[in-house]
């Protein structure tokens, strides 16, 4: 395309934050290594130069302190964008997140608003072992009072960030390291797409059909969407037409888009890099199965991370991770009837 402006997710995030900071003096950013370093994952690069270190504020390694502070600032009229460097660190500060940030609006009967964005990196695949590679989508999505989003591409990354900053509620913004477009983490080329220069919003709570198909619905989020898209391409050769749903938001969850797709295809596969049990994959399957007007042609399948901590050794980690091949195998299995028919 002539006017294409392909950005990485990292740059798309930073661009959205910068644009909002220009028009809204209450927006500011806090986190570890976000100023001079521009964020370990590049999503605040350049901001300190433009906005200075008062508004782009490096913090001590005190997540409970500064996320709690963000809650207080948000209640006092600011719109903090805060970074928890790796989602894996949520255990040192989760009370500030789920008992304060997520509940103070409710506790106050709506009299306090907590408009803040907590951005945090997810995902493995580059041998960073068990305390730096998790997704934990389910851990956040399970608890009420916070919206949860995760983009699979730069267009959504910018639009979701803009929507999140403007939202009057707390939003957990999870970005997958493997999609950031930072060379040193590998790059999923499919994540770098055209991003309009002007500010725009992608609606929080709205899933996207990123590929249409008729035989099987593959539901995923973030990195999993790329596995699904690759699988869908491979399945074409088998004569299997796969529809891919990119959830984009886990909370609110766009159950209707998922159900409508499965109503059409009659088959469901969920791809989830988070742990298998008690998480996203179970919820999506239940969402489909509990619908009264929906009959599956085959049992649903999930390709999720097994219920084990994430190992360091590359061969071990890759063995555990979802990938396109696993999706293809599952689709072939449950679509056998479709293909023979």
């Amino acid at each position: 395309m002539e006017n294409e402006r392909k950005l990485t997710i990292a740059r798309a995030m930073a661009e959205s934050i910068a644009q909002e900071m220009r028009i809204d003096p209450t927006v500011f950013v806090m986190g570890e290594d976000i100023a001079d370093l521009g964020g370990v994952f590049g999503n605040t690069r350049g901001l300190a130069d433009e906005f200075g270190k008062e508004r782009i504020r490096d913090t001590p390694i005190s997540e409970t302190g500064f996320i709690g502070a963000a809650v207080g600032a948000a209640q006092d009229g600011m719109r903090p964008v805060v970074e928890l460097m790796f989602v894996d660190f949520f255990g040192v500060c989760f009370d500030a997140i789920y008992n304060l940030m997520a509940k103070n609006t409710y506790f106050s009967g709506g009299n306090f608003k907590v408009p803040m964005v907590l951005m945090t990196s997810t995902g493995g695949g580059y041998s960073d072992a068990g305390q730096h590679s998790q997704c934990l989508y389910g851990s956040f999505a399970h608890l009420p009072g916070m919206k949860v989003v995760s983009p699979s591409n730069a267009y959504d990354a910018k639009g979701l960030m803009t929507a999140a900053i403007r939202d009057n509620n707390p939003v957990i913004y999870m970005f997958h390291k493997g999609l950031q477009g930072m060379g040193w983490l590998g790059t999923e080329a499919g994540a770098n797409v055209h991003v309009p220069e002007e500010a725009y919003e992608v609606e929080i709570g709205k899933a996207a059909i990123v590929r249409e198909g008729s035989d099987v619905t593959i539901v995923s989020i973030a990195m999993g969407v790329h596995h699904a898209l690759k699988a869908a391409k491979a399945l074409e050769a088998d004569g299997i037409s796969a529809e891919v749903v990119d959830l984009r938001s886990l909370v609110p969850l766009d159950r209707e888009t998922v159900r409508a797709s499965v109503r059409k295809t009659g088959r469901l596969i969920v791809v989830d890099e988070d742990y298998h049990s008690y998480g996203v994959s179970g919820e999506i399957i239940a969402t489909v199965c509990e619908a009264d007007d929906l009959t599956l042609k085959a049992p649903p399948r999930r390709i999720a991370y097994p219920d084990v901590p994430i190992p360091f050794a590359r061969v071990m980690e890759q063995y555990c991770l979802p990938n396109a091949e696993k999706v293809v195998a599952a689709a072939r299995e449950i679509c056998r009837s479709a293909v023979t028919a």
Binding site: P25, T26, F28, E54, R55, T59, P60, S62, E63, T64, G65, F66, I67, G68, A69, A70, V71, G72, A73, A74, Q75, D76, G77, M78, P80, V92, D95, A96, N99, L100, N104, T105, Y106, F107, S108, G109, G110, N111, F112, K113, V114, P115, P144, G145, K147, N168, N169
Partner: protein
């Protein structure tokens, strides 16, 4: 810094308001809970933490605050809320779980939130610290006046949030004050078995900020020390840590048999009840006449009665409203 007569009158009256309020709440709390004490029953269900005896801390600090200033409080918030000027009617209604309550019944006694006077709570120990620092940061970033005070108990000073936030406030020179109400107990655990130092003011050294310990639950001294700290914060000179010796005249929560207290401790505390003590001094120093103090007390009692009546007569929360106000 000595309080004016007007301020002293306000301090005394506010202490009495808090005490009368809790005395009535205490009675009503027990309604429906006998012969078998079951927290779930009666017009006020759930946990109930009274602040009887700790009123001097609230009034000594809040005498220096205006509605724009910010307070974060704890599971034991009534005295602080009343001293900060939280709407008494709506607060009573909240404690009764009524639709007219501050939060429409969603919060209850451990979650008193009043945006009009910038008052918030958390029932999680020490977790008001971060939000207080954040409010202070917000003022600094916006160039707006105002200080933030985090009230915590002495037990809370052993939580990670205390440490992280004090360091943050100090390194960013925030207009924040941390006030520790040292009532000697965290539920059944005595301060000396939980805290490695006798007094938490020494912990100010860990943040390079001023620290003060105030003995004797003394409203005058609290007023003075808090006044200096708040003036310092308003002047942009950064945070202060204040610990105040105070007394928990009630159990940790209602229903607490207090078997862990050494024998006689309670009697000693009752003898030091700060309300009669303050009245005695006010009269003794000739600052107030007995009839003046009686009048202040009568006004306090009336305000409390009005609030309780308002709460009693308000409509119950609507069950299905439980599903609303999750998001703004």
């Amino acid at each position: 810094m000595q309080p004016s007569k007007e301020t002293l009158g306000w301090m005394y009256q506010t202490m009495v308001t808090s005490r009368r309020f809790e005395e009535i709440i205490e009675k009503i709390y027990l309604e429906g809970k006998s012969p078998v004490f079951n927290m779930a029953n009666g017009p006020i269900p759930g946990e109930m933490h009274l602040s009887n005896g700790q009123e001097p801390v609230a009034v000594g600090v809040c005498a220096h605050l205006n509605p724009d200033d910010v307070i974060t409080a704890t599971h034991r918030p009534h005295h602080q809320a009343i001293a900060k000027g939280v709407d008494l009617n709506k607060m009573a209604a909240e404690i009764f779980g009524k639709a007219s309550g501050l939060s429409g019944g969603r919060g209850g006694h451990m979650h008193i939130f009043d945006a009009d006077v910038n008052f918030a709570c958390s029932g999680i120990i020490a977790q008001g610290m971060g939000p207080a620092a954040g409010a202070a940061l917000s003022r600094k970033l916006q160039g707006k006046p105002g200080v933030a005070v985090a009230f915590i108990g002495e037990g809370a000073a052993n939580q990670g949030a205390f440490h992280e936030t004090m360091n943050l406030a100090a390194v960013w020179k925030l207009p924040m004050i941390c006030v520790i109400e040292d009532n000697a107990w965290g539920i059944s655990v005595a301060k000396e078995t939980a805290t490695a130092v006798k007094r938490n003011d020494v912990r100010a050294a860990a943040y390079g900020i001023p620290g003060h310990y105030i003995e004797g639950n003394d409203p005058w001294k609290i007023y003075e020390v808090a006044g200096e700290a708040i003036a310092r914060a308003r002047a942009g000179e950064g945070p202060t840590l204040i610990e105040v010796e105070t007394y928990r005249l009630a159990g940790h929560f209602m229903g607490d048999a207090e078997g862990y207290r050494p024998e006689g401790e309670k009697d000693g505390l009752f003898a030091k009840d700060p309300i009669p003590a303050m009245r005695k001094r006010l009269e003794g120093e000739g600052a107030f006449t007995a009839p003046e103090l009686d009048a202040l007390e009568a006004e306090a009692a009336e305000a409390v009665e009005t609030a309780i009546r308002f709460a009693r007569e308000s409509a119950d929360a609507k069950p299905e409203d439980a599903l609303t106000a999750v998001f703004a």
